[in-house]
Symmetry: C2
Subunit: 318 residues, 2 copies
Amino acid sequence: MEINVQQCCEILKEMDDIVILSHRNPDGDTLGSAFALHYILDQLGKRSRVECHDGFPKQYSYLLLDYKPEDFEPKAVVAVDIADEQLFGENLEKYRGKVDLCIDHHGSNKHYAKNWLVRDTAAACCEIIEDICYGFEEAEITKIIADCIYTGVSTDTGCFRYSNTTGHTHAVAGRMFKAGCDFVMINRAMFEVKSFSRIAIEREVLNSLELYFENRCALVCITKEMLERTGAEEAELEGVAAMPREVEGVLVGITLRQRDNGYKISLRSGDEVDASVLCGKLGGGGHRCAAGCFIEGDFETAKKTILKIVGEALEAEE
Amino acid sequence: MEINVQQCCEILKEMDDIVILSHRNPDGDTLGSAFALHYILDQLGKRSRVECHDGFPKQYSYLLLDYKPEDFEPKAVVAVDIADEQLFGENLEKYRGKVDLCIDHHGSNKHYAKNWLVRDTAAACCEIIEDICYGFEEAEITKIIADCIYTGVSTDTGCFRYSNTTGHTHAVAGRMFKAGCDFVMINRAMFEVKSFSRIAIEREVLNSLELYFENRCALVCITKEMLERTGAEEAELEGVAAMPREVEGVLVGITLRQRDNGYKISLRSGDEVDASVLCGKLGGGGHRCAAGCFIEGDFETAKKTILKIVGEALEAEE
């Protein structure tokens, strides 16, 4: 059943011994939402713990500062920022079909829970968690909750840069400032700190940069050899696909990622070109500004194939 | 005389044919403030134009979309975001000692104007300009003014990341959203787009990266040869000094910039080490987290000198 914030609070009030689920490959919003909810429930005198298929990556350790997970047999299951049970991951498979409450901001939410509170105008699930906190007389936005909620809104909006950011997002951030959130530390941890191997792979990616079509298209590649040389891991490649479009004047950025039998293509574009349409021509898909596809064969084949399609689109755009 | 917002509005009401001054090496806040004020004055039916020693760099061209500079003999001079007349630059020297009104957010403001409105709690001068706009019944925050003000607050806070950001800053940003500011375009232009030569110099800087003191110190250099090879200009080096401290675990980042007879040192630090104290030992200075000094001699001499001082500080910090 679809519910509103008030109903959500009433349902939470009836629960105890609650498992809160975050999605696999967790990000700042799913973990921020989960721990904020945990700290809210703690103020209500309820036991809860957060579970995630991949555990809690160390860059998020500041979210756990006041966290004392308790061992109990769950009587209730709440999922936060999870659009689809597919995103639970194997370790949480046991909760499939057993979610009592889902709080989410994805319009694509599959409504797999008994009750769902889905607000797709929210830039981050944490924006909804804030409202839930205000729904309890016994709860308030403590410093640690402010850190959790700020982490969610900041990471899901790329530090207020992505188009999903709203005036409401800024209002939420302003309120978290009042509650003393440590935004300097959080943004440094989320956006500035890079591992040495990440820096090494960025350097390699920049070295591979090529410009095409009067510098309106930039292409980079990530080969297996580069990963071996730098020691960079999969998780350290996040955001690398955005790099080619950072070059001045570039309308389409292409990243070729070497796989066993070909190349995975990531396309990034602005308003001028629809990346999902171009990737669709090669059997892929995605969003208007960020899409992907796969091309079998060697590097030259993959490059030639994707450049042909991008070149045609840029010609049509003129 | 020190004035408040209301007095500032009254003074502006009495003015006409106004020159608005921005500081040399202009940034988003001085230009955002100047053009926002111009568009406000325009709504009041007053002639004004913006002047800057260095003109208006092309990445800020969207601030000028509704700008039609008029040729007139100035009857009044207003300086925005300029703490000191030294920052006028040669082309604006004629206005020294002739500024009627100064609007600024630097606590170090030299009070060189007849009247000054200085609020050092404001993260950006544009925050004060917003209040000035509300002080006029005839003026409102139009879309272009929202773009100007958002540019100021976003750039002066590093997109809401620097410690000068406040809850008020977020509130200002939220109001600019309501007025339709194009924050996606602005943040892309300000923070994401890089010239090809900037990317080339970043690559060179990353290639020069060295780690010291159990990876708690990172050192990079920018040589004349690098600049020649990449074609990067002075203005394209902004923010490069922040790069070494982006490495995970690094407490002090050092950038050595080659000059004719030695090396200019930029030091960046977190809470653990006071960069201004370390640079002070070498005759330089600055802020706690960002300071600078100059060391005469060749690269090895400069490196050895600064590393000795940083090493001692890191040892004391343990």
